[in-house]
Structure formats: structure tokens, C-alpha cells
Symmetry: C2
Subunit: 173 residues, 2 copies
């Protein structure tokens, strides 16, 4: 599917069919993550892909923001120490979150282009998710993306008007 069309048609999904992702989907997600650019090429992110039903069930107990039963969870983690060492203070404080957004976008758009719905999740208990995913101390889970085949139509999106979000040459134009 065309990139812009993919961006325009993606909506967050909150209910999923009981159907695992095919291996070609997981492979595509892996590639999307690997090829995502990061500032100064610091690549301080780490990603855990969870597909075991029991583990997803465990994580769900600590993630009130996670709706439905997705086929997979992509846990986007960030290593502040590595960001600091490889990219400096701006990477540690700000850029590593921008990098995570870039990677999250790549995962969601790649999934959408292959017919797989997604939802970014930020409301979860970080320490519990870290324990379930066996993360070392320095690697913190910052965002999860749920993936699966949507079994309900998405909510309609309400969006700001173009002139509220975008200016030309100068603010307000």
C-alpha cells in the first residue's frame, strides 16, 4: 500500500481477532525497526516482540491502556545510559523519545500496509512490564504497540483543521 494512503487509513484498534501474525508480518516488523533512523545513529532503543499468549496475558494485567487481546506486543524500550554515551545529553533527555516515535511509526505503518492493525500504549506499570520482559536495569519500556487483526471498525478520527496545525513561512500564515 502507498505510504500516504497507509498514514491516512491507519486508526488505533482496540479489539482483535484471535489470530496470530504470520511469520512474514513479524519479519517485516523486524526490518522496519532495524531500518528506522535514530539521531546520530545512536540506536539506543531495544525492542522486545512478545507473541506468547500467556506472556501477553501477564503484561495485560499491568497495562490498563492495553485494550483487547492483540496477537503481538512490540515493547519499545529505551536505554538512557546508552543514549547519553552515544548521543550526548540531548539524546538522553529528548532525542531518544523522538527516536522511539520514529520507530513506533515505522512499526505501525508497516503493519497497516500489511493489513495488521495497531495501537500505541503508554499506560502501563513500567517496572512490572520490565520484569515480565526480563529487561536489564538500564533498559526501560517506554511504549508498547499492540498488533493484530482488528475485529471491529475503528473509531472515526477527529482532527484539527489544517490551518490550526500548519503555517507557511511564518506562524499564523
Amino acid at each position: 500500500m502507498d505510504v500516504l494512503e497507509t498514514i491516512k487509513t491507519r486508526r488505533s484498534a482496540r479489539s482483535f481477532a484471535d489470530q496470530p501474525l504470520g511469520p512474514h508480518i513479524v519479519e517485516a516488523i523486524e526490518e522496519a525497526i532495524l531500518y528506522s533512523p535514530s539521531a546520530s545513529n545512536a540506536q539506543e532503543a531495544h525492542v522486545v516482540i512478545v507473541q506468547e499468549k500467556a506472556r501477553i496475558r501477564q503484561i495485560k494485567r499491568f497495562a490498563q491502556g492495553l485494550s483487547g487481546w492483540p496477537a503481538a506486543l512490540v515493547i519499545l524500550c529505551s536505554n538512557r545510559d546508552e543514549a547519553l554515551a552515544r548521543g550526548g545529553i540531548d539524546s538522553a533527555e529528548t532525542l531518544r523519545f523522538i527516536n522511539l516515535g520514529v520507530a513506533a511509526s515505522a512499526v505501525m505503518l508497516t503493519a497497516q500496509s500489511l493489513g495488521v492493525a495497531s495501537c500505541p500504549v503508554r499506560s502501563f506499570h513500567g517496572e512490572s512490564v520490565a520484569a515480565i520482559a526480563g529487561l536489564p536495569e538500564a533498559v526501560r519500556p517506554e511504549l508498547m504497540i499492540s498488533l493484530g487483526y482488528a475485529d471491529q471498525p475503528p473509531r472515526p478520527k477527529t482532527s484539527k483543521l489544517l490551518r490550526e496545525m500548519i503555517s507557511y513561512e511564518q506562524y499564523g500564515n
Copy 2:
């Protein structure tokens, strides 16, 4: 172009041909921004698209990270106050940067899919760029994306290995 193919082929461009973007390109970039999801749909970002040569020249004086002479600059700005009001403290501190990354990715991938190269730029003097773009006090420029037709082949990308970046079920697996 296919989404994953677009992700895999995009590289940062640092030298551009002296050629403006067509209006259909600018329209596609606008749509990519408008349809980019933001946490809690807070949409606290504001974007200024600069195409005037004189203004790009002015900005370039205050942006050591900006290489070459792009046809356009997309200035991704963030409003901390609006993020706080619409999404709470987590939006103000972290999510607004993740949102910017999602939007930056949408801009870069849409451009790439239409044959337009890009480079994210973070090294610039924020106050000077804000003044040139006429930003109100609360709206701060956080990231610029240069856009244009690349006139040099991109540098090869060095990437971490898959097993360094991605684990399955638990960290290290």
C-alpha cells in the same frame, strides 16, 4: 512505493538540487502531518513549512546541523503548555517528543515515497529559528526536516545487528 521498501531505502540527504518541490508534494506532506496520530489525540504540535529561499538562507545561518540547500524546511514545533493542558504531565514531559517523532517519520516517509529526500536536523539555535518563523513564546521548534531532490548518493548506513536490537518474548532471547 511500498511502506517497508520506503523505510528500507530512505537515507538522510545532505546535498540537494536547486529545484523546488511540486505543489502535490507539499500537499502530501501536509496530509501526512494532519493524519499523524498523537497520544490522547492531543495534537499539540505545530508545523511551519518554509519554502522561501531567503528565509531558508536566514535559518541556515543558525542551524549548523543543516547541510546543503534544501527546497523546503519543515519545522516541527511543540507547545508544552498545550501538551500539558490536553494530555497531562506525561504528554508535556515525554509523549510530545514521541509524537514529534511519529510526525517526523510520516513526513520523511511520505517524501521518500514521492522521490523527495530528507534529513532530520536538531542542531540549531532554537530562539533564532523561532524568531525567523515568528513563533509565539509557547511554541518551540524541536526538530527540522529538510526536504529536496538529492543530488548526491546517500552515505551507506551502518546498523546494529538484529539480535542486538530485538529480542523475542524476553530480553536477550
